[in-house]
Subunit: 337 residues, 2 copies
Amino acid sequence: MGEFELLVKVRERLPPPGPRVRLGSGDDAAIVVPDGATATSVDVLIDGVHFHRERASLAQIGCKALATALSDLAAMGAEPGEAYVALGVPTDLDEDGCLKLLDGLAALATETGTTLAGGDVSRAPALTLAITVVGHAPAPERLVTRAGARGGDVLVVTGELGGAAAGLLLLESPEETRSSFAIHSDTKNERALDSPVGAALIARQLEPQPRLEAGKALADAGATAMIDLSDGLGGDASHLAAASGVGLRIDASSLPIAAGVAEVAATAGRDPLDLAAGGGEDYELLATLPAERFERASAAVGGAGLTAIGEAIAGAGVEIRLPGGGILEPAGFDQLS
Amino acid sequence: MGEFELLVKVRERLPPPGPRVRLGSGDDAAIVVPDGATATSVDVLIDGVHFHRERASLAQIGCKALATALSDLAAMGAEPGEAYVALGVPTDLDEDGCLKLLDGLAALATETGTTLAGGDVSRAPALTLAITVVGHAPAPERLVTRAGARGGDVLVVTGELGGAAAGLLLLESPEETRSSFAIHSDTKNERALDSPVGAALIARQLEPQPRLEAGKALADAGATAMIDLSDGLGGDASHLAAASGVGLRIDASSLPIAAGVAEVAATAGRDPLDLAAGGGEDYELLATLPAERFERASAAVGGAGLTAIGEAIAGAGVEIRLPGGGILEPAGFDQLS
């Protein structure tokens, strides 16, 4: 498989470019006419570090790589524009495998209105994806950084927490544990799941969805700071607090924990709050906004759901308060990525 | 070495951001206010495929990775803007090594006015760099693609050819060959070179310079198509010819061959034209323009030098004509990247 031949086949399968793209893949560079401001982020994912080929299909790996990159754009409130994909291909991945991976990636690109505008392919000792995404906004001040939270702001989170960590526990668990959730493996890369709850948790882990619409809605509703939950609520809240120069007080009892997380945690002998606050990879958005804007923001976010989980206060650091009055120290959690 | 700690140290060493950059590295995404159009390109480089750690210093590897990426912007006639660096770090590269590599990269960024606006770091089985560069232009039509050459256009090349291939031959040659050019190795990664010619050839291979100013000058002077010479004159000319739907006729005797290439080729039993036309990695620019614009373009390119080497004709493909009337078929050439 030559690099040129693969790139030609890839280009044939790409969805048509978005309206800002004047020239897509195939020249020295892509040409884009941006709006007033761009938000650009790069993520690198490597087999054995961020994912394991034996646990996910190639399409899922491609999809998740783009999803995690787009999640950074969601956290800025940017509209997704273009993605540039650098692919390192090991000798045991043939052309068909590369195309499966890129099909998974292209499916999410189509779904989110992202143009795959360029790429590069190389041999590599392990499957490697480096994805650069560019998002757009009418003006730079419409993008939300981590740095604008003010004391008194309400702290909100989209969707539900802990699902990705529970999904990872299911994927790592022995067959008999998984089957207690009526989950069984068909083949190496295709899992037949009888339990909708278990399937949903595994999907949270393997096929995360970037909260692009919620991110734009929160930006438009006046979010003062925003970050996506990749490392886990505790860690990512710390980044936001440090960047904004505030403290964050989180009420553990208010965390929106995904269905099935409690059961999986119990089976694994873990505290469900550990999964929700320390697990990471949920790719939900954590944001601050003036308290009086919460209702409007919640309506704008719509179906994804928005939960007030605490507040920004003068000070520094993150405190997760337990119902009994104690403080949660989320245990470190081995992440798949 | 944690990812966060390394990124903090890297950020401390970055030169100040350029005027378009509103928010650099450290948030979910960088925020940039572009001009009218952007040119974006991504390159991935992996140890053992595109470079060899035993042949180049870490600073040279970082420098070359950015140079090859910026060369794509030069080939569009874009002004360099931002670079985003995804770094895969093997276990035998410590924090100090990472910083050396990034210092090499940052030095070229400073020299070219490129802002290192974002990045990601991961463990990896082999040293991996994926670099996305964004260039700017006032409007999309000011950028030069590969596709605009017309029959009758003069074909031009900047600078000199064959130097990078000759440098590679020197690096690969046994000590006694190198010493015939008065070149000797001091330590594994630092070469003391007594011969300015040999040193220049090795520098062409290990520290290529993107022709950013020449690219802008050619674009402003009315270049109809442009590409950078990464794969070699023969191959890259074919890409330009195919994209433009023209043939290219090249006069081999007019090729500007770098000083020392003939001597190195003779020692290696190679034809110097093979190195100049098939060697690649010179990162010079190949462009077409209306013949009456050649003088103006040559003056605008200035010190780098511009040579007319042939013409675009109706038809397809690339023909490199030898002085005796034969046709050169450039031999395939093993490239370092």
